[in-house]
Symmetry: C2
Subunit: 359 residues, 2 copies
Amino acid sequence: MHIRSTILALSLAAVTAAPAAAIEPSQLAAQARQMFEPLPATMPDQGIDATADMVTLGKMLFFEPRLSRSQLISCNTCHNLATGGADLQATSVGHGWERGGRNAPTVLNAGFHIAQFWDGRAADLAEQAAGPIANPVEMSHSHTDAVATLKTIPGYAAPFAAAFPDADEPITIERMTKAIAAYEQTLTTPDAPFDRFLNGDLTALDATERAGLDAFMTKGCVGCHSGALLGGDQYQPFGLVQAPSDAVRPPEDTGRHQVTGDEADKYLFKVPSLRNVALTPPYFHSGAVWSLGEAVSIMAESQLGMSLTDAEVAEITAFLKTLTGKQPQVDLPVLPASTADTPAPDVTAANATAAEATR
Amino acid sequence: MHIRSTILALSLAAVTAAPAAAIEPSQLAAQARQMFEPLPATMPDQGIDATADMVTLGKMLFFEPRLSRSQLISCNTCHNLATGGADLQATSVGHGWERGGRNAPTVLNAGFHIAQFWDGRAADLAEQAAGPIANPVEMSHSHTDAVATLKTIPGYAAPFAAAFPDADEPITIERMTKAIAAYEQTLTTPDAPFDRFLNGDLTALDATERAGLDAFMTKGCVGCHSGALLGGDQYQPFGLVQAPSDAVRPPEDTGRHQVTGDEADKYLFKVPSLRNVALTPPYFHSGAVWSLGEAVSIMAESQLGMSLTDAEVAEITAFLKTLTGKQPQVDLPVLPASTADTPAPDVTAANATAAEATR
């Protein structure tokens, strides 16, 4: 509970701060450097000891629709690298046109987060990658069948052997997800305008964006959205001060509580990173809000107990748009051909459990 | 009907030819050059006057899921450039998990064909590209809504203006499909082993592949599958000599007859190009056959009235695998962000007409 108290104190203190117009760019940058860091261009290795060959294989697997039972759905379907690493949907559409339970978080910079999924139920990228393959409303496969399918494709033998040279039988689910994680560790988005501002280029943000940054800090948003990611490093109750509407926070999805069983974790979710947030509407774990400005207003009310003016919303939104970094350059892999031994795709609808949380 | 007679004559003459083993590589290459050509590295312009800016825009649109009502399905969904420009499905899965009527042909080298779709109902790539956007079992959008959606995305203004500098209001369905066609004109796959063989590298095919090429010519396959594409330049009845099974040739899909209404066109389909055929199972307009060898056997029976030995099937299949060319290198585009004005995706299921032909 100490985190909640800290944030409340911060937000109460914040409302007394000086108005945005008074702050010099150099002073604002100095303040911002106390709370934020430029996004590193490289991601820490998550115990993978990633090699270039693992990354090459992982990229193939990230785009590999044969990991799914339908042979239609790849990691990139819901984490589309052409659209900010997410899928533009409220909640994802998977096998049989079934809907998932939560909004797909972007894969960009995901490895910087403390844990994966909105409820943090996977410790790292590799553990996350195993989830959707077997989820009945996502890829609807089984790990066994996904492995068996790849083994029928001769063109995978060499990339697996190169990535895992010490393995007698390299194609396993553990190695597949490890390779996917190795690739995802490359998906960083450095060099956003805000990073350039932090690094001393005071012209990187215009006056409106600077006013938004100032408001972001003084209103208290920074209490949860700080550091290099502006989020991604803690769990917080959605509705810290005031519960948002049931549409925005569906009562049945209790978030981290579903992982820990702890009543104190009800409606706790991982604080999302705001990096590239302008690229990935809709917002929140429910995906119920399509406008970034509306999302800002709801956050102010539910987390900080304050109403923002239209001008403040516009300024903060303008600032958030400066968090769009350089997107990874992706050369689409050429995937090896199926053979007569490869199982045919199975597109029959699954008997999915509707209540299953998927993100 | 004269084409059918020619092919029958050719196939009857062919069975008397010398066995494969007797033919020197140089002699085989000389014979092959009479019937085939190397695939050109560049495609003729289809009246588009394509520019680099049109290609850039067209690539964005090819990968643009917001052309679909669900904002999930792009051209690349069914013509996946990671999997040979097709989708690994018997018939494609589209909006609402509905199935299309025919197997998705590869987009690779499509602009070399005499016409588009299995029944040739679109004259060129641009006309083809307009079809799936509005097809209720594919993208399930309307042209009007697709245009309106793109107009809400500010990041499209500059690419359209660059591609169509003389237009007052550049975003129209005609310009969108023209740009997509401009991009598709770049999707060629030159430099297959067979091209190198035709160009004089006699080591480019091994003995089995050469035996397959010889059989392909002497058995009569070349009667329809000749030229640079080994197909794509004429319509032929599927079941010229003997109708294949109803599973392979569903009786209700009468092919070109559905376009022309001419009884003589019943079960006529565009002869598919065999370029990259090993990458794009399953086979035939029905997508009913998953093994390339089985497809070869069925072709021999239905089109030439002959049964091939297992060895002949294996040789011809080995030859067909030498038609896999250099795949296009694709840098995934970074698509511009939606805005609060962009319509939300609509994933409600369509009332699709099941009988509608889609390829």
